[in-house]
Subunit: 402 residues, 3 copies
């Protein structure tokens, strides 16, 4: 029976102990409410989670929301041009303050009783409150927020170590792309009726690329370890010449779960592909300090649920947002040079084609995966050699929640 | 964690003990299945609940349904012209008998196996039943029912004290309006995905009127305690002259939870408003014994979830019907003189405009309130001086369920 | 309170002990998650369940799915033309393999990572698997499967006794119809938001036929025990003359729960009906060895949730598929002679009319039944003399789950 609930923490230990290295997880990890609550508490509330891109906050008062589980976090640029994050919960009776996914405001005014907060979270009004009401105690609850090369990360855990220092060695990997000088050309959400871990596990392996992603596989050598190895030396040599870091970084394993997970590797593209496009040709102006096409692409990860593919002319960033035990949003943004003009410098359909078709296909197979796992005939199966990162994610995950 | 369930009654006591007077409630009161079941058992099954208006039952055999939670109660006028209520559950295998929200029948015939009941609930057929079947034991289960000035109330508790006697002092408040001589001009249901208590708490305070209800606030001085106070003496003098009761009644507090909750107060309207309309002008013929406009409006409550606004020319009655832990119907009826003709004596859009726009706005903010409360960042916040009735409702509610 | 959950197996015993013979069941049997899980475990995983008809598998590689609860079972004709059944769960990471309800394949290829299985379930590929991977251990999990007169049955219990031997005495009942030489002319699914038992209980009695099924009742004497008795002798004499078995078989009671449930009886039709049609006239060529119209119709059951009506010129087969505690699919197929051509030999609307109108009506009343049972006013009520089979089903069911 897959659907048995976990009532006590020792049940969780027992469940974790069922894990057999090299195999997929027990079904209850993908169907139990108790495990899901634990996932939210630990994975999403104690880690640095990528929330969005700095270009989504061009001016003071601009904000966007990040909403894992039943949370709603406001990320905003304040009057001093700092980026801050707050819980989207009025301190009066708990109403959501920002009700749109993104927008621009002069102050945060609760739509219910008009409690108004400065962009820095300070409560400024106290209409009809008792005389002893101390408004300094009722500011918006702050959420930690750090920015790395234009990517905004939040952390709901006040005691967690900082992000930027922890991932210092990633700087050289990002530097050529200057993602801080890009802007969001497109944003799409793919909602899949499956547990968030199935979506992450899917993203972390390319064993399924050849069968499920013909479009991706014509372009990316990740689909074939043999091809990937064969083309690697020439790709790395070219990458070095073009100024990319050629040192792979892999901090995705649970050897030290106190550390932020992060990852950087370059992978070759098949000829004649110079970027992730339909026909292989360029789709946008070169990013940042990138001088010419070549040197493969960068596959990156920062935090447990944030992934990216950095092409020479655009970047694709992925965040997985849990919405329920078996419901997950896959949010994707496409970044281009901040000066690039749609229609002139790039065509939106061409730019986004590769990851739209790929995400549509993933949405289907992840759902089929969840449905099969819900069967009493499911049992954990053996992973292939091409699923090493999925296996690593599972080990990291189990270390987190135990 | 807000979503932890309550497994035992001592958990409920513990939860109740978290209450801090002057603050809003803990999130679990709005999200726990166990609390919701308790609410249904106590609040909705032991109190007098307003179900509808006598004009909805013009003839013998006319009925309407009231459906709190998973219940379905038939309110019907029987052959002796008495109003009665029954559980809408066939005594054979439990099928719903009345499947439309309202209608007119000669007898209650179950659509499944045609068990037929008189309008007084008596089973009259016994097709194919064993010889020892005693049909006198299988009448429809009666539900208590009382009528006050045309308003029909039901009570699922056979042991509760009667309604009419308990609210005797409310007679003079209702008398001028003669609601028993009105009829339903319009009925609307607004479904809001929030716990029923959030909808009631919303209705019981006007702190949110100015921010959220511009239309209401142009008309009703309740939005401003200062204005309300300033205009009160002149309004009361006029009200007295026009024959309205000028004695406010407030039995909404939990000092004696054995008593029915009820409330009556008059509140001034801003000039030039003579009723709750878009431009302030009259929208229907004067009600009952009302001779002229003026004297403000009556705000009334009978029972925990029934509220009304009595204008000189129409009345608006509100009932809150729980449909799930986080789903509530707000059902509204607009009453006009029974002789008033639509199109001639009143325009339906004009008549209903004020409370349609107000309810649409409430539907949104109550939902935002629920969403914010579902966040782990929510904590009970301090109520304002304008939320005294909401605070009183909370205290009454806690006394009920403990 | 109907909604109290059952946390322990002794709660189930307690619930079973509430049963009063001759009455309907306690509400919790239709609303408890725990009871529903028990139903799936016992009723649907230990009995022979009718899944479909052999004509749905005309060639090797043709398959269809049967999906009770969260299961998905593939029924397929393999390369040796045998019919087999497998769990629709990839042995790798659990993905559904067949994603369409029916189809034709050369092999089973998982859409996720392309693990490929022979039609006999054997895993044939091992792309990128470790050297010690033994693919012989990772074939599709088999499900037992037997065929009776063209009807395909599955059983998820490896230890259950075989079907064909157990129902040997049913052969003569089926023989004249030669259902193995028919094909599916139409397939419809009616989804009803009610517990599966309410749907089965509905099917097993004709007390509701007269009130709820005017169309059926004009044709079938089952609606009237008196008429049924009166017309029986002549019908049986004619049936015998035409070569039908005239011996009724009733193995539907729980006297021995180890036995498969099955049932056969002939019932007269009213004049001038010769089949289940709108006007009583023939709707398709005579089935199998049937030589002429007459001799009534056969009502049959094999297994707990599979029923059929065998007319001289077509057959209607019913399966009930649980989809949730209060959600059930009623799947119907209409069988005609395998050589009959649509448009020439039969009109699809005429052929299916009777059981479409009947099923639409049942869908409504079963839903009303569930809604009424969800009320706290529901209590088990007395069954009529015309509900003997429903009563028998209840007793069989309680013996199963205890």
């Amino acid at each position: 029976m897959n659907r048995i609930e976990l009532d006590r923490s020792d049940d969780l230990s027992g469940l974790i102990s069922t894990y057999r290295p090299g195999f997929s997880l027990d079904a209850r990890f993908y169907s139990s409410d108790a495990v899901y609550q634990r996932d939210l508490d630990v994975v999403f509330c104690r880690n640095w989670i990528y929330a969005g891109h700095i270009s989504q906050l061009p001016k003071p008062g601009c904000f966007f929301l990040m909403e894992p589980g039943e949370e709603s976090i406001i990320v905003v640029r304040d009057g001093a041009r700092s980026v801050r994050a707050f819980a989207n919960v009025c301190r009066h009776r708990g109403c959501r303050i920002c009700t749109a996914e993104a927008g621009e405001v002069k102050a945060f005014v609760c739509p219910y009783h008009a409690w108004a907060y400065e962009l820095n979270g300070r409560l400024r009004s106290k209409r009809a409150m008792p005389k002893d009401f101390d408004r300094s105690k009722y500011g918006l609850k702050p959420v930690r927020c750090e920015i790395f090369h234009g990517l905004v990360f939040i952390n709901l855990d006040d005691g967690a170590p900082g992000l930027i220092d922890a991932i210092d060695e990633m700087n050289s990997s990002f530097e050529p792309y200057q993602l801080e000088n890009t802007r969001v050309a497109c944003r799409e959400t793919y909602t899949v009726d499956a547990n968030w871990k199935l979506a992450v596990e899917n993203f972390m392996e390319c064993y399924h690329c050849a069968p499920a992603h013909a479009e991706y596989s014509r372009c990316h050598t990740l689909k074939s370890p043999k091809d990937n190895e064969a083309l690697r030396p020439a790709m790395l040599e070219e990458a070095g010449r073009l100024g990319y870091s050629t040192t792979a970084i892999d901090r995705s394993l649970p050897t030290d779960t106190g550390l932020v997970q992060y990852y950087y590797a370059r992978n070759a593209l098949y000829e004649p592909f110079v970027t992730g496009s339909k026909d292989g040709s360029a789709v946008a102006p070169l990013l940042g300090r990138v001088k010419e096409y070549g040197g493969g692409v960068a596959d990156i990860q920062i935090g447990p649920v944030s992934f990216g593919i950095l092409y020479p002319d655009h970047a694709v960033l992925y965040r997985f947002v849990p919405r329920g035990v078996q419901c997950t949003d896959m949010d994707i943004i496409w970044l281009v040079n901040q000066d690039a003009e749609q229609g002139k410098d790039y065509d939106l359909d061409e730019l986004t084609w590769m990851w739209r078709v790929t995400s549509e296909a993933d949405k289907k197979i992840i759902l089929y995966n969840q449905k099969g796992i819900n069967s009493r005939y499911y049992e954990p199966g053996p992973l292939s050699e091409m699923e090493a990162f999925t296996s690593g994610f599972i080990r990291w995950y189990l270390a987190q929640i135990e």
